[in-house]
Amino acid sequence: MLESVLITIATAATPLLIAAMGELVVERSGVLNLGVEGMMIMGAVTGFAVAAMTGSAWLGVFAAILVGAAFALLFGFLALTLVTNQVATGLALTLFGLGLSGMLGESFVGLPGVKLDPIYIPGLSDLPFVGRLLFGQDPLFYVSILLTVGVAYFLFSTRAGLMLRAVGDNHVSAHAQGINVIGIRYLAVLFGGACAGLAGAYLSIVYTPQWVENMTAGRGWIALALVVFASWRPWRIVAGAYLFGGVTIGQLHAQALGVGIPSQLLSALPYLATIVVLVLISRNRRLTMMNTPASLGRAFVPDR
């Protein structure tokens, strides 16, 4: 039973982890894209539709990644090229995505979807206790782990990662050094969109293989909060996502066991836990300042 519970937690945490990891890279480059929820829901509807029409879950996943990136490109064009307000543009992207996905997905409501099957390695997946947990989950779970390793390595061990962080911390200096600030930010935003699209596909292809309007149910916003929660560090996002998933699933189990705690309080637990950790983190002001990308959310126009 414990194994099954842990797998459920991993399933709850994975979409948050993927979306938050994308947004982390975006914010590290100094851009605040509040459109995660919108890109995510577009990924969910596209992933479902393509998978349903072609019968291939993987094609759905790739389509979702592309659409997420395309939506992010729209954000990039507005916020980076036309230098619109990032907060307003991101919010608009979310509203637009929620509306558009509902319209596009209308004919897919009430259809069972195609599910991405968990992997199976003969021998390993059958090991007691750890078999299914380590070697028998859905493929995107492993993608989320690889993504974390990749992002952590890229940001802190490569030259390109250093450039991206430089752009996020001080775009004027980076520009003076000859770094293409806007170009790097475009790439970061595209990456963030692709991740959000993938996270959306996770919902409509792995988590609950179906399409219904508004099925992301606010997970994009939780992903945004996780980035702050993690103080812009990749591995802390993993911790945050699993803490959130763990508390969410744990409270359901507590209810089913008949623990005499009011269910409203239990339901609020994941959010309370997030707030408590946020408060603890921001107590040390210097540490917070050190990690926050200094140019976050500030517009940049070269040579002005």
């Binding site: 099954s4 709850a12 219904v212 309007e213 149910a217 189990h253 339901s267």
Partner: protein, 357 residues
């Protein structure tokens, strides 16, 4: 919103055919306010199915319009008023939270008919209320669950602790107890009407704790899918969810609003519309059970028998029934009255969960 072109064409045709008779007058305009998107495959979806049936049956004599995802509260009043001004003859407001807004607007537009779903306020003669006795279906589900469960425990995914939901849990339990007095129900409150991911998680948690039947009072098809994946049985909600669990769904409580909508719009057309307070169940066709399947014939027969018994007048809330703490609620043969049911805020005996308040 198939209005203009079709309606014009129809008017033209009728005009030629029955030149100058009353038939050529404008179609009746019926307007609907939904709380969710019509794509939720649950509550609002089923209301919209009712509207589609209305369009089909009354054809060109009716014109429909709808607004979806209208928040309960101040926005609702604006939306309803907009409909009232735009020439709607009858307006259906399909969520509990529209109650006060509906009555307020109704006072300002005495010539427009208003129909409010699941509420109880009728401040003006042009306001009716309508609702369905879903608990009748839940009682039948309880009977089936107790017959089908080997673990003798069912999982119940609930939304919010409001009377409607509590009534459902109690009816389910009473149905189950009529077969097996020791039957158990594990209740998990999702605190949402609609979040496929969370509903799926709740189903997984319940199954991990040993239930082998899942029933839900939340709106998505996710629990059904999880039950199918884990190879146990489940009940659908609001619509027939058989496509999501061909070998899983035992039956589903299907909300059928269509017949009522047809009847009420016809009444407007005939000039016979009057204020009513309708709470319909099996007998009135408001609550329909999806086909009984994935169960042995004897269970099927018992389910049908139970349904027929309710249709011919048996009330699931007939004593003797004790409250959760063991104190008597209904004496032998005593039947709960409607106001008590509509305000139900306590569990019946045998439920382990502590009711949130």
């Amino acid at each position: 919103m198939k209005t203009s072109m079709k309606a014009f064409a129809a008017a033209a045709v009728l005009g030629f055919a029955a030149a100058g008779t009353a038939q050529a007058q404008d179609p009746t305009k019926a307007c609907f306010i939904y709380v969710g998107p019509i794509g939720d495959f649950g509550w609002s979806y089923q209301h919209h199915q009712g509207v589609l049936q209305l369009e089909k049956e009354l054809g060109d004599t009716v014109e429909t319009a709808y607004l979806e995802s209208v928040p309960e509260g101040a926005d609702a009043e604006r939306a309803i008023e907009r409909f009232a001004r735009s020439g709607c003859d009858i307006i259906f407001t399909t969520s509990f939270g529209y109650m006060d807004a509906t009555n307020k607007v109704a006072g300002r537009f005495p010539d427009v008919k208003f129909e409010h779903a699941t509420g109880y306020k009728r401040d003006h003669p042009n306001v009716s209320t309508y609702n369905s006795r879903f608990y009748e279906g839940r009682y039948v589900q309880g009977v089936i669950a107790a017959k089908m469960s080997k673990a003798n425990v069912a999982g119940y995914i609930a939304s919010f602790p409001i009377p409607e939901v509590v009534m459902g849990i109690n009816a389910f339990m009473l149905g189950a107890q009529s077969v097996n007095p020791d039957f158990k129900v594990k209740v998990v409150w999702a605190n949402t009407w609609f979040d496929p991911g969370k509903e799926a998680d709740a189903a997984k948690a319940l199954i991990d704790q040993g239930v082998d039947i899942i029933t839900q009072h939340t709106d998505s098809t996710a629990p059904m899918q999880v039950a199918a994946e884990r190879g146990i049985k489940a009940f659908g909600q609001a619509s027939d969810m058989i496509k999501f669990g061909p070998e899983t769904q035992l039956t589903s409580i299907v909300d059928e609003w269509g017949p009522y909508y047809v009847k009420r719009v016809k009444a407007v057309q005939d000039g016979t519309w009057e204020q009513v307070d309708v709470w319909g169940g099996f007998k009135e066709g408001h609550v329909v059970m999806a086909p009984y399947q994935n169960m042995p014939d004897d269970v099927k027969a018992l389910a049908q028998e139970t349904e027929d018994k309710i249709r011919s007048g048996f009330n699931p809330f007939t004593g003797p029934i004790n409250r959760q703490d063991g104190s008597p609620w209904l004496a032998e043969g005593e039947v709960a009255d409607d106001p008590t049911l509509l305000g139900m805020n306590f569990y019946v005996e045998g439920i382990d969960d502590k009711l949130p308040n």
